[in-house]
């Protein structure tokens, strides 16, 4: 019984994987043939989506003239793979802004938060052992200096890794959204309230809170207001 369940699980995994691969390939083929709409349909079926799928979807939406959708998909791809130059290039090209702290995240994104966290942990262990060895004085005086220097370097790297891990973690859990359709930013979360300014597709913003179909958002330059949730999409 147990064996048959395991077999079924493995089989479904293979079938699902094969389905995703064929959807990905079909999408790529449609894109190359200039049928961007079909490419989008195929790629949207791939689940879960990798940064590559989001990136390709961004390209297809861009070709269809949908700037908001394109920027959203590039931002999604960038969230997964912050250091990728292709994604950054196309995001900028499609009129999207670079997210805040892009310079830091490009480096922090080279390792996952867990990897950075592990680096910090191991470095701290090294610091502790070095200090213990110095305490024991089991080594000649010249080596004490080496131990002290090692402890200092390891401590520095540990602090650095923690900052990188936090940066990458904050990047993954950031509450940003992108304008999909041109809309107006209002002073209150009510349909008839005063329109403060209009925003174009592709503009990104930080989501502060939500209230009955409206999002309280903040744009660059600390401009705040309420925007219809249907017109924007959170990352």
């Amino acid at each position: 019984m147990k064996r048959s369940v395991l077999f079924f699980w493995l089989f479904s995994l293979v079938v699902l994987h094969a389905g995703e691969t064929s959807d990905f390939k079909a999408g790529t083929e449609a894109y190359i043939n200039g049928d961007f709409k079909t490419a989008v349909l195929h790629w949207e079926l791939v689940s879960p989506k990798s940064d590559v799928v989001y990136y390709n979807l961004g390209n297809a939406y861009y070709r269809m003239g949908k700037a908001g959708e394109a920027v959203w998909h590039y931002r999604k791809a960038l969230q997964m793979n912050p250091g990728d130059s292709d994604i950054l290039h196309n995001l900028q090209f499609a009129g999207g802004e670079f997210p805040r702290g892009m310079a830091t995240i490009r480096f922090a994104g080279k390792l996952s938060p867990d990897a950075w966290g592990s680096h910090a942990l191991v470095s701290l262990f090294v610091v502790s052992l070095c200090l213990f060895f110095i305490y024991l004085r089991i080594v000649p005086a010249i080596s004490n200096k080496v131990y002290l220097l090692s402890a200092f370097l390891a401590l520095f790297y540990s602090v650095f890794s923690i900052i990188m891990a936090q940066t990458h973690a904050a990047w993954l859990t950031g509450k940003d959204a992108v304008v999909i359709e041109s809309t107006e930013v209002r002073s209150e979360p009510l349909p008839g309230s005063l329109a403060l300014f209009s925003v174009d597709p592709g503009l990104s913003m930080e989501v502060i809170s939500e209230r009955e179909g409206f999002l309280r958002v903040r744009f660059s330059g600390d401009r705040e207001g309420w925007v219809e949730a249907a017109k924007v999409r959170s990352l």
């Binding site: 691969t21 894109y31 590559v52 966290g117 610091v127 502790s128």
Partner: protein
């Protein structure tokens, strides 16, 4: 009575004249001078009573610099006044032919005028420079006309002003006719608010006059060399009041009023026009001279394919704006550029020409993409500093949305010599999706377990120090080490003594045995050599609880000394060796 008689006489004379004018068409002619030099301007005035078709006379040896015609109608009597302003260009006696009037009454001719033209006052016949006009009125100093440029030396293209000013001794001046010179060699613009016919007080050559600005121009020279500004000629009515013998006249009019009709002419002036310096001339320099600022505008930064964009280059400042040429500019090939429109918004004042000139280009985007409009470089010459300046605008970005399928690249184009920006686009899709799910791991960092481990790592030295006894066995103390060393040293000396015994050197062996014990006493029992006499040894051994060892030690010492004198040194030395060894072993046992 006399006065009444005079008035009647004047009245009758006028009456007779008017009858005469009414009945016959008459032409009178007068010239401002009968002789002049080359380059001088002579005015020939014809007064014609009645109307008709007028044919102007031929003027051999003269060049016309302007003609004025006035028509008057006084009490139904019609008259015309024509003034020819003639510049003498050829030496000799010249006859200015008759002016002919054809009317219903017949054909009438004026008299000929003979004018002698001599060499120019400078004596250089080839020079066309006009000299001071030989009018008597000017020499008199009552009326002076001056044409004055603001600067005598200018650069090509550098605007400067020319003003025509009248200096007069009397405020009763009435202009009947004035001829302003034609300004050649550049673009001239009148300064509208400068003409001010009201008199102010001013000085000229140290004398006080009433002065009025008649006209002011701004001239932008366009040719290098000497720029000549012709004189102004004017005919005016001048009233001079001189003290009269008649007290009534003095009382009512301030004196005797003398009315004079005068022809006044200014002197000609020259301005030297310097060429622009060759050194430091930027390659993109066109002809701008002055002080300018540059602005580049684009009405919108994004749009659809086939949308129109307006790209404007605006040059603002003070200088030769009216004739300013814009630098060459190349747009990306994705745009279709229509013929640019130049809009000028300038004002002319005494300081020059200021304002702005704008060149608008209408661009039609023909394919999608992101394009960079390269910066505009505008070079101008600043005459104040005498240097060339170049202004750079920012490059502008334009995004064009739309379907790329409408654009077909021309594959037949020859390979460019250098990189040529033809267009930019997004990068191609990624065809390899090996890693189907690539989300950076974020399941361990930040969890409670992680921070506990982090705390543990930070506190690890404390833990290790606290429990180090469990991890590393206690090491022997330094004194233990020292004692061990002392024992081994004593043993080494005893071994040495043993070797001496084997060699039958009994005396040396005895000494070595005692030395071994002394070493042991000093190193192991910390009894220095100088304290090792019998009395002190007893006391110190007692302090260390080894009083029982004293007896055997003194026995060993005695035996060591006796080895030398013993009849059987071999047996004694062997015994002492055994005793010493035993003593050390016993002492060690007692110490533990």
């Amino acid at each position: 009575m006399n006065r009444l008689h005079l008035n009647i006489w004047i009245f009758l004379s006028f009456f007779a004249l008017s009858i005469n004018l009414a009945v016959a068409q008459e032409i009178t002619v007068r010239a401002s001078a009968n002789s002049c030099g080359i380059g001088d301007v002579v005015q020939v005035t014809y007064e014609i009573t009645g109307g008709g078709q007028i044919s102007l006379p031929a003027t051999p040896g003269f060049q016309s610099v302007g003609t004025q015609q006035y028509q008057r109608n006084v009490n139904g009597k019609y008259s015309t006044s024509i003034t020819l302003n003639l510049r003498a260009i050829q030496e000799g006696s010249h006859t200015i032919g008759p002016l002919i009037v054809q009317s219903s009454a017949g054909t009438f001719r004026s008299q000929n005028v003979l004018i002698k033209v001599g060499p120019s006052s400078q004596g250089t016949t080839s020079s066309s420079e006009p000299k001071r006009s030989a009018t008597s009125s000017e020499r008199s100093g009552d009326l002076i006309l001056v044409v004055e440029p603001s600067r005598k030396r200018v650069y090509v293209g550098e605007p400067f002003s020319i003003s025509a000013t009248l200096y007069s001794q009397s405020q009763y001046v009435q202009f009947e006719d004035i001829v302003f010179p034609e300004i050649r060699g550049g673009l001239s613009r009148d300064v509208p608010e400068a003409a001010d016919n009201s008199f102010r007080r001013g000085t000229y050559n140290g004398q006080t006059y009433l002065t009025a600005t008649l006209k002011k121009w701004i001239l932008v020279p366009q040719r290098e060399g000497t720029l000549e500004i012709d004189p102004i000629t004017a005919r005016l009515l001048f009233q001079k009041i001189t003290p009269s013998q008649d007290p009534w006249e003095n009382f009512f009019r301030g004196g005797k009023v003398q009315e004079q009709r005068m022809n006044v002419s200014s002197t000609a002036t020259k301005v030297e026009v310097k060429p622009l310096p060759e050194s430091g001339r930027p390659s993109g320099f066109q002809n701008a001279v002055g002080q300018f600022s540059l602005e580049v505008l684009l009405d919108k930064t994004s749009g659809e394919v086939n949308d129109a964009f307006t790209f404007s280059v605006r040059v603002k400042g003070n200088g030769n704006l009216s004739i300013l040429r814009f630098p060459e500019y190349r747009f990306p090939d994705a745009f279709e550029v229509s013929e640019p429109v130049v809009k000028e918004n300038t004002s002319v004042s005494g300081d020059g020409i200021s304002g702005s000139v704008r060149k608008d280009f209408l661009l039609i985007a023909r394919r999608p993409g992101k394009f960079v409009l390269p910066p505009v470089n505008f070079s101008y010459f600043d005459p104040k500093t005498g240097t060339y300046q170049t202004l750079y605008s920012d490059s502008l970005q334009v995004k064009v949305w739309g379907d790329a399928s409408s654009f077909a690249g021309d594959g037949s184009a020859a390979a460019p010599v250098d990189f040529q920006e033809l267009g930019t686009d997004i990068r191609f899709i990624k065809e390899d999706n090996q890693v189907l799910f690539k989300t950076p791991d974020h399941r361990f960092f930040g969890t409670l377990l992680y921070w506990l481990l982090f705390g543990f790592a930070a506190l690890l030295p404390v833990v290790l120090i606290r429990f180090r006894a469990l991890i590393i066995p206690r090491r022997r103390s330094d004194s233990d080490q020292r004692h061990q060393k002392a024992v081994s040293m004593a043993k080494k000396r005893l071994t040495n003594a043993r070797k001496l015994l084997d060699k039958e050197l009994h005396e040396e062996a005895g000494k070595e045995i005692w030395a071994a014990l002394q070493t042991y006493l000093s190193d192991r029992l910390t009894i220095p050599l100088q304290q090792q006499d019998d009395r002190q040894l007893v006391k110190l051994l007692e302090q260390k609880g080894l009083e029982s060892q004293w007896v055997s030690l003194s026995s060993i010492k005695k035996n060591c000394e006796q080895v030398l004198y013993s009849p059987q040194p071999k047996a004694l030395s062997a015994m002492v060796y055994e005793q010493a060894l035993e003593w050390i072993v016993t002492t060690e046992k007692l110490r533990k």
